[in-house]
Symmetry: C2
Subunit: 237 residues, 2 copies
Amino acid sequence: MPTQAPVIAFDADDTLWHNETIFEDVHARYRHMLAQYHDAATVERTLFATEMRNLDLYGYGVKGFTLSALETAIELSDGNISTNEISQLIALGRDMLAHPVVLLPGVAETLATLAGTHRLLVITKGDLRDQERKIAKSGLAEFFGHTEIVSDKNADAYASILRRHAISPSSFVMVGNSLKSDILPVLSLGGTGVHVPYHLTWEHERAETPPANDGHFFTVKTIRELPSLLAHLGMGG
Amino acid sequence: MPTQAPVIAFDADDTLWHNETIFEDVHARYRHMLAQYHDAATVERTLFATEMRNLDLYGYGVKGFTLSALETAIELSDGNISTNEISQLIALGRDMLAHPVVLLPGVAETLATLAGTHRLLVITKGDLRDQERKIAKSGLAEFFGHTEIVSDKNADAYASILRRHAISPSSFVMVGNSLKSDILPVLSLGGTGVHVPYHLTWEHERAETPPANDGHFFTVKTIRELPSLLAHLGMGG
C-alpha cells in the first residue's frame, strides 16, 4: 500500500470535455463541401494524409487542422474551390476555437471529490492558447495543482513532467481516453493507466495493441467509477 | 550584493536568433502578391488589424499569422485571389516553420560563458511545437535548465514562472528585445530587465513608454555586453 495518495493526472480533450464531436461536425461539413469533387472516403483519407504529413511542422490542434483542411480542399478540387468556401473553412476553424467547453457527465463531481484527497494535474497536448482557454472556460481550473500542455504525449514528455514535479511513477495514475497518448507511455514508465473510452477516436490516436492487464492498466466506463477503482487499488488517498 | 548568482532568463525570437527578418521577408512577398489590389500601406494595416482581431483566439505564432494572412488576402482581393496564390501563402507559412535557426552574433559564446556561473532559462511565447523545434535546432538547449513556453508574456505569466522555480524577483534578470513582453512586466515584479534591441520590432511589440532607468533597467547593444554588465551590477555569479 502506498503511504502517500498518488497523483492523478487527467487528459483533457474527450476525457474531461467533448472535443472529437466538434471535429466530427466540421468533418461532415467538409465532406459536404467537397462532395462534388470526391466521395467521402477519399476526402477523409486525403485530409488525414495531409494532417500526418504536416504533423511534425504544425503539431496538434485546431490551427494546424484548419491549414491542412485548406491545403487538402485546394488539392481535391484541383484549385476549383471558391475563395468564399475557403473563407468558410477559416471561419469554421475560428468557430472550433471559440466553441463552448461541454464537460463529460460526472467530471465536475468526480474532480471535486478527488481534489479533496489527491493532487490532481492536467496533462494535455495541442495549441497552447486553445488548451489554456478551454481549461479556463471549463470551470475546473481550481481542482488542478498544475496544468501541463505538451507538444506530444510520449514517454519522454511524461518522464519530464514526473521529474519536474518529483512524482514517482509508482504513485502516478494517468486517466484518459487515448490508449496511445494517455496509457501506453505511462505504463512504459511504471505508472498506472486508467482508460476512459470516448465514443469517437481520431484515427491517429488509435493504438495498434491494447496493453496487457498487468495490474497497472484499468478501463472504466465513466470517470464516475474512478474513486471506487482507486479505493480498490489502495490508492484512495 | 546578492549572495547567490541571479537566474538569467532569455527571450528567444530576435534575442537568441533571427525571427522578425523571416516575417519581414514574407510580408514583402505578401505585399507584392496583393499589389494589384491595394497599396502596401493598406495591405500592412489590414493584415495587422486581422492579426489583432484574431489574437485572442489564435495566440502568437506562425500558424495564426498564416490564417490571418489568408483571411486578409481574400478580403483585400474581394475574393479574387486565386487558389494557386492561397496555396503559395500556405506554403510560405510552412517554410517559416521549417526555416533554419540563425543565431544572433555572440549568442553561443555568451551563453557558454554564463552557463558556467548562472542558472539560465528560456522564456518565450508562440506556437508550442515551433518554439520547441527552434530551441532544439539552435544547438543551445544544453545551456538552459528549463524552457518555458507561454501563451502571453505578461506579469502574471512571469510571476507564475518565478513561483514555480522558487526564484526571487530580486535575483531574476530577463534579457530580451521587446520592452513590452520582456522588460516592463519583469520590472513591475521587482526583477531586472536587460533590453537588447533588435533592428526590427513587430508593431504589436512596441512599448508606448520606455521604462525609467531606476537601477533595474539596462540596455545593451549586443548580448556580448551581458557578462560585464552583470559583473558591474554585482550579479556576476
